[in-house]
């Protein structure tokens, strides 16, 4: 019996509520004080953290809790709109999470977070604790923030902002749009998961419509005036997609109300009855964290940047999309980078050593067409207790004007890099494909 099965079977990560006071015997036991890390979430942040801990401190007990539902990565889920058959390749199966070298993964629903005890209370009654508790649960869609978006509206207005069956629904609905049809996408205010995601999706939808519904139109209704890589996206749209129109907040495009019965989309200035509306809701940290007071009433959770520890709860660390880590974006790469930086800080904390300066990087690739990519790069450092962008370590793909005739080959190379990046970060974060040590 391997350790993962033992722990799951025994109904305990560290201890079951009914096993009161009885510890699980472990080969790792020895004299002196010991340490354990408990992690909520097995996405890019949680998984990257867990493997970094096992890499750098193999004897540490690392236990992860993730929901039992299947999980598909958000990165590359926009590309799956064009080729829905590819969605299955986006599923993470966690095959590497077994055996003594691996973090222990428990698939269970969490009922409550108790920051003061560094504890997770599971729906099945188990209660887990660690010397350090790390929360990396991702986002919650704030559908209640949209007037008229009642229960069932997701079927009418598929958001597909969490990848999986919703992505397939959106792909199907796109294929049902008639020629001369109207597709509307509403884009939420900052901050939200994957800042360039709506614009990549818009590019790929426009590409598909141009090819298959040449007289259809895609209208983007944005709740803001500026967005990441906007000059690059807009230049690509101007060159490629006469069927795409973008309207920003100043154009009156802020979303005011939707009607799930009639399919009506109402903005500050206009009303639309599109054939398909992809309404991307505003977002916030999941209720589990907000109910525990970890957002300080802000909707997202503050952290201090050397170890991503909550200023509101000692030894509780928050990573990835749920954290306020700006200027880092809520991206898979940022989550991966934060996971590793947090691992180094946790080991230092547990060893009683000073935390090292975090190495925090980001690269977000976006496809503006299936064979054309652009990228934004960021590097970050802690200054006066805050995260700051390093100007020398940040930038964008060169503009079309700079590239001239080489634009096609350079954008093509970055699209290939985007695919290579995706396979790489999956191998790194989830130890897939037999890679890693």
């Amino acid at each position: 019996m391997n350790r993962r099965r033992f722990l799951t079977g025994a109904g305990a990560a560290l201890l079951s509520a009914s096993g009161l006071g009885r510890a699980i015997p472990s080969a790792a036991s020895s004299n002196g004080p010991h340490a354990s890390v408990l992690i909520l979430g097995a996405g890019f942040a949680g998984a990257s953290l867990a493997w970094a801990l096992k890499r750098w401190a193999p004897s540490l007990t690392v236990t992860m809790v993730a929901a039992p539902e299947r999980y598909w990565t958000c990165p590359f889920s926009n590309a799956a709109l064009l080729k829905p058959a590819d969605l299955s390749a986006l599923e993470v199966r966690y095959d590497a999470f077994s055996g003594d070298e691996a973090p222990t993964l428990i698939r269970a629903r969490v009922k409550a977070v108790e920051p003061e005890h560094r504890a997770l209370v599971l729906e099945d009654g188990r209660r887990l604790t660690g010397d350090k508790l790390v929360l990396a649960p991702g986002i919650e869609l704030a559908t209640d923030a949209i007037d008229g978006y009642q229960e069932g509206a997701a079927a009418r207005f598929p958001h597909a902002w969490e990848a999986g069956p919703e992505s397939l629904r959106l792909a199907e609905r796109l294929r049902a749009v008639p020629d001369r049809g109207l597709v509307v996408m509403t884009i939420p205010p900052n901050p939200y998961r994957c800042p360039p995601g709506p614009y990549e999706r818009a590019s790929l939808m426009a590409w598909w419509l141009q090819k298959h519904r040449p007289r259809a139109k895609l209208l983007l209704l944005d709740s803001k005036d500026r967005f990441t890589k906007d000059a690059l996206f807009k230049a690509a749209w101007a060159a490629r997609y006469p069927n795409l129109e973008w309207q920003g907040f100043s154009d009156g495009a802020g979303l005011r109300r939707v009607d799930a019965t009639t399919g009506l989309i109402e903005t500050d200035f206009d009303r639309f009855s599109p054939d398909l509306a992809n309404v991307i809701p505003p977002q916030r940290a999941p209720a589990l964290l907000r109910r525990a007071g970890l957002d300080g009433g802000q909707g997202w959770c503050p952290i201090e940047p050397t170890g991503f520890e909550s200023p509101l709860a000692k030894d509780v660390h928050i990573l990835g999309d749920a954290a306020i880590a700006n200027p880092m974006p809520k991206s898979a790469f940022a989550a991966n980078s934060q996971g590793k930086a947090c691992a180094a800080a946790l080991i230092a904390d547990l060893a009683g050593a000073p935390r090292p300066d975090p190495v925090l990087l980001n690269t977000c690739y976006s496809l503006v067409a299936p064979d054309a990519g652009i990228a934004v790069v960021g590097s970050y450092a802690v200054k006066d207790g805050r995260l700051e962008s390093l100007a020398a370590g940040s930038g964008l793909s060169p503009s079309r004007r700079t590239l001239g005739e080489s634009v096609t080959s350079v954008r093509g190379a970055e699209a290939a890099h985007a695919r290579g990046w995706y396979d790489s970060i999956r191998a790194d974060a989830f130890r897939e494909g037999g890679l890693g040590s």
Partner: protein, 105 residues
């Protein structure tokens, strides 16, 4: 009911875990390499168009990073990503990273 047992829970968590004395924070180069692997894959093995770092010669890697760091033209085309990261590497970290991947089989 469960609250009664809280002191026990905290104590009980201890015996399963690693001895603190065995813990040592990762080195600067280990932390940088971990960040590089976010694009270059687990242990720098690369994937598709994203090149493997592991197993390249240390001198070739160092030369490439130096080129990105020092030559603005290298920042054109797809070199812009690496030019930004090379720009913020301390020279000794740059060399240590090249040695780290160069020494890996």
């Amino acid at each position: 009911m469960a609250r009664r047992w809280l002191p026990w829970l905290a104590l009980a968590a201890l015996p399963v875990a690693a001895p603190l004395s065995a813990l040592e924070p990762p080195s600067t180069v280990a932390r940088w390499a971990a960040a590089c692997n976010g694009c270059h894959g687990a242990e720098g093995r690369g994937s598709g168009a994203m090149p493997a770092l592991r197993g390249q010669s240390a001198d070739a890697l160092a030369a490439k990073l130096e080129q990105w760091r020092n030559d603005p033209d290298a920042a054109a085309a797809t070199g812009h990503v690496m030019a930004r990261f090379a720009a913020i590497l301390e020279p000794e970290t740059l060399r240590a990273l090249a040695d780290h991947y160069g020494a890996a089989p």
